[in-house]
């Protein structure tokens, strides 16, 4: 495995270590991804089915267009995050998207936030945090292998 060179160099960025940088990038990816999903839902037409009509809709509806654009940007952030660190630890962090979507749905669509849903949010955050603990207690053996 080749060791990637840093794409951006800045004194402030250099102070953040690679693991933190990947985590920040993938977290930003989940926030943008959630905003994208909300916009896609706002722009979706329930009478439209099939991949081709959906594809056309992306270019004819502003919410859908911005939604897919944000989705694209979030994918770019994910790629930048994946340049360093373990895929098996970074990828499940994307589950935070569910958390942001739930929170945004309450704000945008005024959906009811039940105790069960709050519990679900807390459980997902706890699960994502566990990935971090596992990583800090076992120094990345695989990364040395790379």
């Amino acid at each position: 495995m080749t060791t990637p060179q840093p794409l951006v160099s800045h004194p402030v960025l250099d102070r953040i270590n690679e693991r933190q940088r990947s985590l920040i990038l993938v977290s930003l990816c989940t926030i943008l991804g959630a905003a994208a999903q909300i916009l896609m839902k706002k722009g979706a037409d329930p009478t439209i089915h099939g991949m081709v009509p959906t594809f056309i809709r992306i270019f004819t509806n502003l919410n859908m267009f911005v939604g897919y654009a944000l989705y694209g940007i979030s994918a770019v952030l994910l790629v930048l995050a994946l340049r360093k660190g373990q895929l098996s630890l970074l990828y499940p962090v994307i589950a935070l998207t569910f958390v942001w979507v739930a929170i945004l749905s309450v704000l945008v669509f005024h959906e009811h936030l039940s105790l069960m849903r709050v519990g679900g949010i807390a459980t997902i955050v706890f699960g994502v945090a566990m990935l971090g603990w596992g990583q800090s207690t076992t120094p990345d053996a695989s990364e040395e292998d790379e």
Partner: protein, 121 residues
């Protein structure tokens, strides 16, 4: 509310395709260099982006009908697939902590969407 088998299959297939997309994104990501030619020649990255996009279309199709409390955890099942591919393709360690963390995340996703229906309802 019944969840159609077709919805389950769409979402499961989407998770599967997406998990390979993640592997190709990772393989492509570590090969990114600061020049456009190398970026355009990075077939792993291109294939990863393509699979990631296709999987999202499959999810949209799948969650249109059925219970999200069942379908969303199936989306998250992609993390479990990805964990195994990470072991096979990148030699990342499979730890007990990762398994437990993924189980907790899947449970949280199920709780978060318990009782919610798909887009049509």
């Amino acid at each position: 509310m019944e969840t159609p088998v077709s919805s389950i299959l769409w979402v499961l297939s989407g998770s599967f395709v997406g998990s390979f997309g993640a592997v190709l994104l990772k393989a492509g990501a570590v090969r990114i260099e600061r020049n456009w030619a190398s970026l355009l020649q990075n077939w792993r990255l291109a294939a990863g982006v393509g699979m990631y996009f296709i999987s999202s279309l499959m999810f949209v199709r799948g969650i249109a009908n059925g219970e999200l409390s069942l379908l969303y955890p199936l989306v998250a099942l992609g993390y479990v697939f990805t964990m195994f591919w990470s072991r096979i393709f990148f030699g990342e360690p499979l730890t007990k902590m990762k398994f437990v963390a993924l189980f907790v995340i899947l449970a949280g996703v199920a709780m978060l969407n318990s009782g919610s229906m798909g887009a049509k309802n």
